[in-house]
Point group: C2
Chain length 423, copies 2
């Protein structure tokens, strides 16, 4: 029997509240199969760690520390925004990867990321064929954007959705309290450059039992100022107040983002602000309402304190499944979340070929957005609700969540050459 | 024995995550003393409800609904920004109050608010003396600004502090993950026009066990651009990243707020943005770092989902104590939180005369801010920690907190005259 291989694991792209739960799933599962998998080496700052031979020895971390990853947000090993070029464009990158993999006896490649990362993982999965190095590459899905194909949803999204729905509900209660003599409109800006999945979650704050005046501005719907202002006016007249959830990707018919309104500072420098202040000021000017606005930014995707239990469970399950797929001999695949039923929510782990995942973006279905373009349909609610379900609180001490910072001990370098990253 | 009197309760000023917990304390305690207190009438939208005879009959709400106020953020009866003028300036307001109180047999006045509201409550407490109408006015402290005197802290603040500390911790983990190839600085804007209490809480994300590079910009410290940029530069060089928590009240030596940098939109209209984008762009221009920024705004003061247990307990206790004080015959007082010890945290209910509360603002002590002006001292940590202690999660259903919306049934009007509010 051949010498057992080590595994490489790395985190890629924008991090989430639950990407470490996937890391936890990968490492804990690998540790259960020490007969087949040697050590798990994590890339420090994603794939860059592999290229620069900057590997972290996760075997130096206690079982307790690894377990704590399940409730710790963001990327414990560091992430990166770095996409491998094609084999033709930069063969040196692939040759370097093989050099590092060989030096550290790496036979498994687990890459935890979104669409761009799936492409990188796919390229690595072709190394045995293209460059004759045997490696099994499995992609672990992750993205708050929820835009990976085939899988019903992406780990990371459910928790952002829950955060935005809860925050929208709470802020809406606030403006409702204040509207008689003060603020009448609250505007919340959320992430989502291309797809409105996160913005859609804001509408979940309003239910059949408790209707709240919430307007969503999607990137999928071209911004129509007059129609929007009429909608705000109508809701404020009916309820006395309203909340607007605006996606950072919301744009005018000419493609220009709302945030790029040509705002300039005193020195003539280009705009500072986001979409929220633009929308808020637009309402003030047209309708005269006092406003408040917020920009959730990193707070939304890092909010492990209000993570969805569905999301945490699925993130862990994806990491676990990735290792199990590898042990079964698979290469160039990604575990997926397959929905069996929405109510009661049932799902199982599926498998997708990476060739069908890489570079494919899943947009919101048209029938998830209401006809007026400002809300979500029952179909969308049915889709979103289970993803936000359940709470999975981190442990607290002295009022603060006990998030773990790993030791991240470096693996001794074996190569004498360094590698310069090309941007 | 005289016919038992009814009570009036109202919420005033900016609402908080726990002001309804105080309402719960008032109503539940009054219900336990039905021999002495008749009904509790709530003012719809604060004192305005009294002036316009728009009273809510809280006896129409079930025990379950009132209990749910304890875990529901914002003002369940509506709040207002409306300060009574002095007796000399607008006697008609006071005469109207007496007219409404008489018509509804109101002998107890519970006012739940901050400094301005304490002033209103104080004026009402003088009505027996000034206009011969017997009423006992008790102020129930509330303000996220934490600036009321005598009381060790104000209900509402502990929960905002916890929210900001947790959010800063989470966002700092995020930027730490991304800094190798992407974002190096995260800027979070928080509330606090005059005092830096809330901003100070951001620094609680860094502890002796886990040092994180966090800079706080206080309203109490005149902004020094060069010194600030040098601090950012130093931290990014040492850690690779940093987080800046900026108070909305942070200002230049000439008194101008950072947010008022003269930013103009394409049409020449005055600034849209907050302090966060100004600070972020300042760093980008001087040091070239990629940034992200967020503005917490209403999210921070409405965040009941991450409320501090200390805060919820104290908010309830203040409501309860107010009624108990009234039953003991007190007038013109406010229950206070008196700290007995910090570690272990012990506190008890005290009492302050309203004459010493109204129009007095408690600032952060100078020895709470580090010498360089960018952080908090151990003394400050000792003060803040207990206020953020403990979790008090609301119940959830289908992934969402179950916040209550009351029926808010109006009391039948008895007066034939209406009253026009003067602004």
């Amino acid at each position: 029997m051949a010498k057992k291989k080590n595994a490489f694991y790395a985190q890629s792209g924008g991090v989430t509240a639950v990407i470490n739960a996937s890391a936890c799933g990968v490492i804990e599962t690998a540790r259960k199969h020490k007969d087949k998998i040697g050590k798990v080496y994590a890339g420090r700052n994603g794939i860059i760690g592999a290229l620069t031979e900057d590997l972290i020895d996760t075997s130096k971390e206690s079982a307790k520390a690894i377990a704590a990853l399940r409730h710790t947000p963001s990327g414990a090993f560091g992430s990166c925004r770095f996409k491998l070029k094609s084999l033709e464009a930069n063969k040196a990158e692939y040759e370097r990867l093989i050099e590092v993999f060989k030096a550290h006896n790496i036979g498994y490649f687990f890459y935890n990321g979104g669409g761009d990362s799936a492409d990188t993982c796919y390229k690595v999965s072709q190394l045995s064929e293209s460059l004759g190095y045997p490696v099994q590459a499995i992609h672990v899905p992750k993205t708050v954007d929820n835009d990976l194909p085939i899988t019903d949803n992406c780990p990371g999204f459910g928790s952002v959705a829950k955060y935005i729905a809860v925050s929208t509900l709470e802020a809406t209660f606030d403006v409702r309290s204040m509207c008689a003599t003060s603020t009448k409109v609250f505007v919340l800006e959320v992430m989502g450059r291309h797809a409105g999945w996160i913005a859609a979650a804001g509408a979940m704050a309003s239910t059949k039992d408790q209707e709240l005046p919430i307007i969503v501005l999607f990137p999928e719907v071209l911004f129509d100022k007059d129609k929007f202002l009429a909608k705000v006016d109508g809701l404020v007249k009916k309820f006395g107040y309203c909340t607007v959830v605006v996606s950072e990707g919301c744009h005018w018919p000419d493609g220009k983002f709302l945030a790029e309104q040509g705002t300039r500072d005193a020195f003539g420098h280009a705009q500072l602000g986001g979409a929220a202040p633009v929308v808020a000021n637009m309402i003030k000017e047209a309708l005269g309402h006092k406003f408040h606005w917020g920009v959730a930014d990193y707070l939304q995707r890092a909010a492990r304190h209000i993570a969805s239990k569905s999301d945490v469970d699925q993130a862990y399950a994806m990491g676990k499944a990735a290792v199990e797929f590898a042990l079964k001999g698979h290469n160039s695949v990604m575990p997926t979340i397959d929905r069996v039923s929405s109510s009661p929510y049932k799902w199982k782990v599926g498998m997708a070929p990476l060739s069908k995942v890489a570079n494919v973006e899943k947009m919101m279905p048209k029938n998830f957005i209401t006809k007026d373009g400002f809300g979500i349909t029952d179909k969308c609610r049915e889709y979103l609700a289970p993803l936000m379900k359940g709470e999975d609180y981190p442990p607290y001490k002295n009022g603060m969540p006990q998030y773990v910072t790993l030791k991240n001990v470096a693996v001794e370098k074996k190569l004498k050459t360094s590698f310069e990253l090309k941007k």
